[in-house]
């Protein structure tokens, strides 16, 4: 059992909680605009870090449950088993992930293959606060995934998501903007999360279990099985309703 020391740093921009053990810093939690961010020390033994996280989460008593957080692994070369270990802990505490950050290319690849939304660097403490529309201007932030998604995989990105492949049942995409699936969409998609009703969803075959755009949720009728034939369709919000229409190459 790790008995961590806690130092709370509060500035105008963020709150920081540093957890350390015997003078060695293990990880810190920053309250950033992206949501609570866990920054891991590059050198502390990972087992200690996970134990400290576990204890901290237990201490927080469900505070992080259900709110997506960001994990920042820094330069640490992360092993898959280490990630699994941490994942188990987070999962047990009901912590959701927004995305993970790593400066180590091998770790990024591993995390990516584990089905996570991975970034190279996180915009650390912002100097100015923006109270405007949290969405970046159209087309300025997109994530392109050159693979399909299988059940249990989740992609969360606060811009547009373009994906070449199928999104299978049990997979989930949450995007701040549009979602374009160059393949068959069978899973769950939330475009325009949380409240951008201007977002659209386009897929070569649009047969999702459930479709969410901004604040609306639609459960499409059981789609026909267009085997081998592509029926590109677009889903958008018209008069407070999600409608699906054929996609003819323009919006």
């Amino acid at each position: 059992m790790v008995r961590g020391n806690h130092t709370r740093i509060q500035t105008n921009e963020w709150v920081e909680l540093v957890v350390s053990q015997g003078g060695t810093s293990l990880f810190s939690i920053k309250g950033l605009k992206e949501g609570p961010t866990l920054l891991f020390d590059d050198h502390a033994p990972f087992a200690d870090v996970v134990a400290a996280v576990e204890e901290e989460l237990a201490r927080a008593d469900g505070f992080f449950r259900g709110s997506p957080i960001v994990l920042h692994f820094g330069d640490r070369p992360l092993q898959k088993e280490e990630w699994w270990h941490l994942k188990e802990t987070l999962h047990r505490e009901g912590v959701l992930l927004r995305y993970v950050v790593s400066n180590d290319a091998t770790s990024r690849k591993m995390l990516y293959r584990e089905g996570l939304s991975v970034r190279e660097s996180v915009p650390l403490p912002r100097t100015e606060k923006t109270d405007q529309d949290p969405l970046p201007p159209e087309g300025q932030r997109a994530s392109y995934l050159r693979h399909g998604m299988r059940g249990g995989q989740k992609e969360v990105f606060d811009g547009d998501v373009i994906l070449a492949g199928d999104v299978n049942q049990g997979a989930e995409i949450i995007a701040g903007g549009d979602v374009v699936v160059i393949g068959t969409l069978r899973g769950v998609v939330h475009a325009g999360y949380p409240d951008n009703a201007r977002a659209v969803v386009i897929a070569l075959n649009l047969t999702p279990l459930q479709l969410r755009i901004g604040p609306l949720i639609a459960i499409p009728e059981e789609g026909q099985n267009h085997r081998g034939v592509l029926h590109p369709e677009v889903a958008r919000v018209l008069d407070d309703q999600i409608v699906i229409e054929p996609y003819n190459g323009k919006l």
Binding site: K80, R150, G151, Q153
Partner: protein, 264 residues
């Protein structure tokens, strides 16, 4: 010599992993390969029964990894084919009795001596699954053409792609009659969703149930449709280019006639 370690997995239980492992193992062994089967389902030992060697079990995999015996002491020799061996699961321990490193070491050791190390993975995606996968270089995913096994297979394929690359698929218990009636997903539906290489289709076959209860896997009694399908799967694993007859519907009368006339 370094053999191939292949994990047979599915996510969902009851789709025929253990039966597939036994039959593929027997088929490979009967083609002259030296094969060891590892029962990875610690706590729920089954593979010894399917092979009909339950009375020969002395040591098990937990004894091996905990150093209570040498790996070769735990090897149970098949009673029919002398190049087939089994390392049984423990019936009393928990999945946590073994870790991924120990499984990996055991598999590395066995690969020195065997052409094939086939690991029968427990259902689920927890510790037992991770152990079995850690020991393997390749994976075979077994599913039946039903919606929930297919979804679980999809999940497992996603997990495997992180560590082992793309697995190969066996569709088990395909019932052509139900597909024709539209009551079952057909092979193309399954392949559309899972989108991985098809290793084989095993038809629904009463012989499998009888064989399992008798401890005499179907490949041993020639002429059963499922036994023949496993034989073809083994040949594909060995790199032969064997067509998948089940892919084009069913073995129709005309086709049989053609096979008869043209001798194949």
């Amino acid at each position: 010599m370094s053999g191939r370690a292949i994990v047979v997995t599915s996510g969902k239980g009851g789709v025929g992993k253990t039966t597939a492992t036994a039959n593929i193992g027997l088929s490979l062994a009967s083609r002259g390969q030296k094969v060891v089967l590892i029962d990875g389902d610690i706590g729920l030992r089954n593979l010894d029964l399917i092979l009909g060697v339950e009375n020969r079990v002395v040591y098990n995999i937990v004894d091996v990894v905990s150093g209570r015996c040498q790996p070769r002491q735990a090897l149970v020799k098949d009673k029919r084919i002398s190049s087939l061996f089994l390392i049984p699961a423990s019936q009393i321990d928990q999945k946590e009795a073994i870790n991924a490193d120990q499984m990996r070491d055991l598999s590395t050791q066995l690969k020195e001596e065997f052409d094939f190390v086939l690991i029968d993975c427990p259902a689920g995606i927890e510790q037992g699954f991770r152990n079995a996968v850690a020991a393997a270089d390749e994976a075979i995913v077994v599913t039946t053409p039903d919606v929930s096994p297919v979804r679980d297979a999809d999940r497992v394929i996603g997990l495997l792609q992180g560590s082992l690359g793309e697995p190969q698929l066996i569709i088990n218990r395909m019932s052509m009659a139900m597909v024709k009636r539209g009551d079952m997903l057909d092979q193309q539906d399954v392949l559309d969703i899972l989108a991985i290489r098809l290793l084989g289709i095993v038809p629904e076959d009463e012989a499998v149930v009888i064989a399992g209860n008798k401890g005499a896997p179907v490949v041993l009694n020639g002429g059963s449709p499922s036994g023949d399908a496993y034989g073809r799967i083994a040949r594909r694993i060995l790199g032969e280019d064997v067509p998948i007859p089940e892919l084009n519907g069913h073995s129709s009368f005309a086709k049989r006639l053609g096979q008869f006339i043209f001798g194949r």
